[in-house]
């Protein structure tokens, strides 16, 4: 089975399952961190996530693409329940988790699995693989050792770490990067979550292993009908492993759409810049200089007024882009771009 054929049908047009209520709905989300001067005075806020809205449906994989400092990590941590937002809601299956505490919060955390970027750092070096995988079960009240062992075995088989018994007694440093990441995925799956949040899951792995792990994730998504939020800065992989793409810049989602729509017809200048900057193995690249927008991503403490990309944008409209924050314009069904250039005339 090529994964392409499975998801071909849903690559364009409005998102699948749009009729059902979304599994996860992010509404008006603001995650701001307080900046303290000398430990006492308030010096301002780091506006890591600034008015982000999107829906995630059952069994859907979305990619959040952005560079470092754009706020995708804070967004992800809020979805995981590790951060409390300043304003806005994170609605999971109809319940707002942004205000949950205690047992409720723990229940929610068992519904969201977390796959981290650094496979070695994500595993406690002094625990055996078996212990690492048992931890979530122990914490979430699975008292019977037998049941735990059974579930551990099952999840190890799903991530294809054979022979299971061999691996269970090993320690993280004895495994290769790819194997470590499989354990991380296994751990994320073991509580039977509905959503997996994967933060750059393959960027620290070798090129040949990346595809293997991404395919594994994709396979698990299909077989368990999981929703996956896949955070990356590598645009070349999103086409194979997600249905929708969101592009994030300076705390805001500046373009959202289905994979084929966005990649085939990119609207926002930043998206265009990213696409242009994504290289492919072609010897002619060595002879041309790439076009890169000047400057650096803005400070999240004092972001520029209006559109946050305007200082670097070659197509900026003076008096418009530097004054008012552009809203989402629907360029085609399901494809939104937050840019004044897309304003319908």
């Amino acid at each position: 089975m090529t994964l392409n054929t499975v998801t071909e049908a849903v690559k364009s047009g409005a998102p699948a399952g749009a009729a059902k209520p979304p599994l996860l709905s992010i509404q008006n989300l603001h995650v701001w961190f307080e900046l303290r001067r000398w430990g006492f005075g308030l010096a301002g806020y780091v506006r890591a996530v600034d008015n982000v809205n999107f829906d995630l449906h059952d069994g859907e994989a979305i990619a959040v693409v952005g560079e470092s400092g754009c706020g995708k990590s804070s967004l992800m941590k809020t979805i995981l329940g590790l951060n409390r937002p300043l304003k806005g809601q994170v609605v999971f299956n109809g319940r707002d988790i942004s205000k949950m505490t205690g047992k409720d919060l723990r229940w929610y955390r068992s519904q969201v699995g977390y796959v981290q970027q650094d496979p070695y750092g994500a595993l406690a070096p002094f625990m055996s693989i078996e212990r690492i995988l048992e931890e979530p079960l122990i914490i979430n009240g699975v008292k019977s050792k037998e049941e735990r062992q059974q579930r551990v075995r099952k999840v190890m088989e799903e991530v294809k770490l054979f022979p299971v018994d061999d691996y269970l007694t090993k320690f993280p440093h004895m495994l290769s990067g790819g194997q470590q990441q499989r354990v991380v995925i296994a751990r994320a799956m073991i509580l039977g979550p509905k959503i997996i949040v994967a933060d750059e899951p393959v960027s620290m792995l070798d090129a040949s292993v990346r595809v293997e792990i991404l395919k594994l994730l994709r396979g698990l998504q299909v077989s368990h009908n999981l929703s996956v939020i896949y955070i990356t800065h590598d645009l070349s992989t999103v086409r194979y492993f997600s249905e929708r793409i969101f592009v994030m810049y300076a705390g805001k989602l500046i373009e959202k759409g289905m994979v084929n729509d966005l990649l085939g017809n990119p609207q926002h200048p930043y998206t265009n810049a990213l696409l242009t900057a994504t290289p492919e193995p072609d010897a002619r690249n060595a002879e041309i200089f790439q076009e890169v927008p000047a400057g650096e991503p803005p400070s999240l403490v004092t972001p520029p007024p209006g559109c946050r990309f305007h200082p670097r944008c070659s197509q900026m409209i003076k008096g418009v882009c530097d004054v008012e924050i552009p809203p989402d314009f629907e360029v085609s069904p399901g494809h939104f771009s937050a840019c004044w250039l897309q304003k319908p005339q």
């Binding site: 977390y114 650094d118 994500a122 406690a124 931890e135 914490i139 979430n140």
Partner: protein, 448 residues
């Protein structure tokens, strides 16, 4: 994570660690042996008692084996008595009297004269005091009349202080004159080695009376470890000093290290005002002078070792190590696996105990071991300053006694050297072990 076996195997690669470990094993062995061979109460009573217990020993005597290094061999102290059956009593019953003859033979091989000669009598009688005559037989067969004495219940006849005997020996002190070939030849004193006999003949006027005698030859050297100003064998203090020193060092080190760990972990994990409070307390504690406060407590309040131990722990609880532990914790706190643990719902305590602290054990174990000598020396320092526990025999106390009796001034080096060497060896052993453990647990320092 290293198991015990693997750690031991790796330690084997460092000769200093092996040496340290062996020494520590020996010290531990001594510590276990001490309370078995000489229970605590016995040791304390031995150490506190006056000359009644230690009367057999000379004062200020270096250990007997120092004779090895001397060309002029000093006389070794010894004692022999009838009470323990080493010397047989010959009892001759008369009509109204009873004669008890005791013969004390000994070999005199030293090159110096003894310091003192005494006979300790213990008599059992109702009214009439027995009467003792003492004679001296030299190796060349001369018989010298030493003296006569009537015996009370206990009687000490100090031969070396007998003036009459001295005059009879031509003005020579008895402890010299009795060992000289010709006491009259004053310009050339030739010492005579060989087998001597002290004969004591006691006449008792009661049939049921009984007399025991003990002859003590006070040489200049005695025993394995020498004696102090109260004639106490230093061995008792050295023996018992070992478990005290080790216990103090180990318990103090362990308690403070664990305390530091937990305090730092709590501060880092909970952050906020808890962290600030802990940091401020630690900083104030760093500035407080440790030893002077202990001295104050010892001088003004109590010198009991438990009080001082408690004070040491209290003052060390918020020690400077908390700062470096905190720095390490802050790093670990950001580790991805801790974040992952939070994401699957681990509670704060679980994270502290199961995720943060185990990461630090490689740092701690060497730190713990290396801290032990510090506490051992602390206890000794307090004792040297005169603040040691007054009843316990410890190494520091020995040094304290030595300095108050002017040991170095008098050339009694053994008194200071023995406890000092033991302190150094103990400190060195733990330090070597600690450094090697550090290299094993923290391979970055290996310099490969």
């Amino acid at each position: 994570m290293k198991g015990l076996k693997q750690t031991l195997r790796e330690l084997g690669r460092y000769p200093s660690a092996v040496a340290g470990l062996i020494i520590i094993m020996i010290l531990l062995g001594i510590s276990i042996y001490a309370p078995i061979a000489m229970p605590y109460s016995e040791a304390v009573s031995l150490w506190r008692s006056d000359e009644n217990v230690w009367y057999r020993n000379p004062k200020f005597a270096p250990p007997a084996w120092t004779n090895w290094f001397r060309s002029e061999k000093l006389a070794t102290s010894f004692a022999m008595g009838t009470e323990d059956g080493t010397i047989k009593k010959e009892v001759i019953e008369g009509e109204t009297t009873k004669t008890i003859n005791m013969v004390f033979p000994f070999d005199f091989t030293a090159d110096t004269f003894p310091d003192e000669l005494s006979i300790f009598f213990k008599s059992n009688f109702k009214e009439k005091e027995p009467f003792a005559s003492v004679t001296w037989i030299t190796p060349d067969g001369r018989e010298i009349r030493v003296g006569d004495v009537s015996l009370g219940a206990t009687e000490t006849y100090r031969i070396s202080q007998d003036e009459k005997l001295k005059r009879r020996l031509g003005g020579l002190d008895p402890q010299m004159g009795l060992f000289v070939v010709d006491p009259k030849a004053k310009d050339v004193l030739v010492m005579q080695n060989g087998r001597y006999e002290l004969r004591v003949s006691v006449v008792s006027f009661e049939k049921d009376a009984d007399v025991d005698a003990e002859f003590v030859f006070y040489g200049q050297v005695h025993g394995w470890f020498g004696t102090d100003h109260m004639r106490r064998d230093l061995g008792v203090a050295l023996l018992w000093g070992t478990p005290i020193a080790l216990a103090f060092g180990l318990v103090a080190s362990l308690t403070t290290t664990v305390a530091h760990l937990i305090i730092a972990a709590i501060g880092v994990w909970y952050g906020g005002w808890i962290d600030e409070l802990i940091q401020r307390i630690t900083e104030v504690n760093l500035v407080i002078p440790f030893l002077p406060i202990l001295i104050m407590i010892g001088t003004l309040y109590s010198r009991s070792i438990f009080v001082l131990f408690g004070a040491t722990i209290l003052l060390s609880l918020f020690g400077g190590a908390i700062k470096s532990l905190r720095a390490t914790f802050m790093q670990i706190k950001e580790a991805p696996y801790v974040e992952a643990a939070r994401s699957y719902g681990a509670s704060n305590w679980r994270i502290i105990l199961q995720y943060l602290i185990p990461r630090l054990i490689p740092l701690l174990v060497p730190a713990l071991v290396t801290a032990i000598p510090g506490y051992v020396f602390l206890e000794a320092s307090l004792a040297v300053l005169g603040l040691g526990d007054p009843i316990l025999p410890t190494w520091g106390k020995l040094i304290n006694d030595a300095s108050s009796n002017g040991a170095l001034y008098k050339g009694l080096y053994y008194w200071v050297l023995e406890p000092a060497v033991l302190l150094m060896i103990a400190g060195l052993a733990f330090a070597m072990l600690g450094f090697s453990l550090d290299r094993i647990f923290n391979p970055r320092l290996r310099g490969n």
